[in-house]
């Protein structure tokens, strides 16, 4: 996956909306990147995508 949006959609498919809200806050605090509504400058930025992927892995969510 090459965008934060794609990560979000993949996570959302396996979690409920409530879980995604809490997960998004955790990821935002850890990375500064919004999983729920990524800014354009973050969405396709490989470094941002990798930071989010690592934060998700740290939370036990692997894509």
């Amino acid at each position: 996956m090459r965008t934060v949006s794609e990560l979000r959609d993949a996570v959302g498919a396996s979690l409920g909306d409530g879980d995604l809200v809490m997960l998004s806050i955790r990821v935002m605090i850890a990375t500064g990147v919004s999983l729920k509504s990524p800014k354009p400058e973050h969405d396709r930025n490989p470094a941002s995508v990798e930071r989010v992927r690592k934060a998700l892995a740290d939370l036990g969510v692997t894509i």
């Binding site: 409530g18 879980d19 809490m22 997960l23 806050i25 955790r26 935002m28 605090i29 850890a30 990375t31 500064g32 990147v33 919004s34 973050h42 470094a47 941002s48 930071r51 740290d58 939370l59 036990g60 969510v61």
Partner: protein, 389 residues
């Protein structure tokens, strides 16, 4: 939360206590007396000055109520719904009849934070008979009290998120009356000065997480471009020296960046218009700005302006009261020491107590707050509804 303690609150079985004593036996006697002879707690929380022997206090309370989980920590001030101060203790009893299951454990971090949390979670899950991931976030809530001087909070919150991504762990960092010499957490007579006390409780009443801070974003925001994350230090924002950019935003010189400026204008990570505050701690000789929590590179933060601490708290209490169905039976609150300093300066303690009056409540002034992550200059807590809903 604005009327005298009601019959309904007493019937709810939550009880609070507050004492100015530091004598172990007197603290215990005061808590037992104020809880009342008919109390039947499933969980007891006690927050007390670092001058008191918290391990002994929690041991004696465990002896008094062997069926209850007893946990607590040292503080930078204690309050309940009738009194506020520092150098004493506050306590809250959750009634056994609303506690379906409860387990409290100490996580020790001397062998590593992740290892300590993992081991404690394993013990919690063994005693509960359930994996945390299988618990319902609508009936189960976690509390986390972290020692406040070792900077473990981010790793603690992250690892708890790993074990229980759908559950809330709410809490605070233990204080030591601003001596910054040593903080401790307690659980059923045991203690740790490098660890956390964890509680997982399943209740039969609705509950809601309270989060409020009195700050709002000002016109200036930065993106962090160089930071030492582990040391909680920021060096550059927008590719400029942090002290220069921060001072310019406040209209002062870098040499004027002091504690007063930090308290009035901390930084905030805005998530859906809600600030998750990161408070500066000190200017470093190497040009860095140390914070009370980690800030990663790439994070965009607003410079915050002051607001209405009391009004924000009142609104937050109204909001959670509605969330739990309109009737509140008890609450535990974790309020930042920096907010307490603001309350001291503006003589806000009487009105703070007035906001809580009528609902058995206990809490303490913290060295940091926890909910989904580590935050600053915020009040977080858990507010419980009534059995009638």
């Amino acid at each position: 939360m604005s009327s005298p303690t009601t019959d309904a609150a007493l019937r709810g079985g939550f009880r609070s206590a507050w004492t100015q004593s530091t004598s172990t036996q007197q603290v215990v006697d005061d808590i037992v007396e104020q809880f009342g002879a008919d109390v039947d707690p499933g969980v007891v929380m006690v927050f007390l000055t670092s001058d008191a022997d918290g391990a002994k206090v929690t041991a004696l309370l465990s002896d008094r109520w062997p069926g209850a989980e007893v946990l607590g920590c040292t503080t930078a001030g204690e309050f309940n719904d009738t009194r506020t101060g520092h150098g004493g203790a506050s306590a809250l009893a959750l009634p056994a009849r609303i506690v379906k299951r409860a387990v409290a454990e100490i996580a020790g971090f001397r062998q590593g934070t992740v290892e300590g949390i993992d081991a404690a979670v394993e013990r919690v899950e063994s005693r509960l008979g359930s994996c945390l991931r299988d618990l319902s976030p609508t009936t189960c809530i976690g509390l986390v009290l972290v020692d406040g001087l070792h900077g473990d909070e981010e790793a603690v919150n992250q690892r708890l998120g790993y074990h229980a991504p759908a559950l809330s762990f709410v809490g605070g960092s233990a204080g030591d009356d601003q001596k910054f010499a040593g903080t401790r957490v307690f659980c059923n007579g045991r203690e740790s000065d490098r660890g956390a006390a964890l509680l997982m409780v399943e209740v039969t009443v609705p509950f809601a997480v309270l989060k409020t801070c009195s700050l709002r974003p000002g016109p200036h925001s930065f993106t962090v471009t160089r930071a030492d994350v582990d040391r909680r230090v920021v060096y550059e924002v927008d590719s400029r020296p942090v002290l220069e950019a921060y001072a310019e935003a406040l209209g002062i010189s870098p040499g004027e960046l002091d504690e007063a400026a930090f308290i009035r204008h901390p930084w905030g990570l805005m998530i859906d218009d809600d600030p998750w505050v990161r408070s500066p701690l000190a200017v470093l000789p190497d040009g860095g700005l140390r914070f009370y929590c980690q800030i990663p590179e790439g994070m965009q933060l607003s410079v915050m302006d002051g607001g209405d601490l009391v009004g924000g708290m009142r609104s937050a209490l109204d909001r959670v009261r509605q969330e739990v169905g309109g009737s509140v039976s008890g609450a535990v609150l974790f309020n930042c020491i920096l907010r307490r300093l603001e309350m001291d300066a503006d003589d806000l303690h009487p009105v703070w107590t007035e906001l809580l009056r009528g609902t058995p409540t206990a809490g303490f002034h913290t060295y940091g707050e926890s909910w989904l992550g580590h935050i600053n200059q915020t009040c977080v807590g858990v507010v419980f509804g009534s059995e009638a809903g």
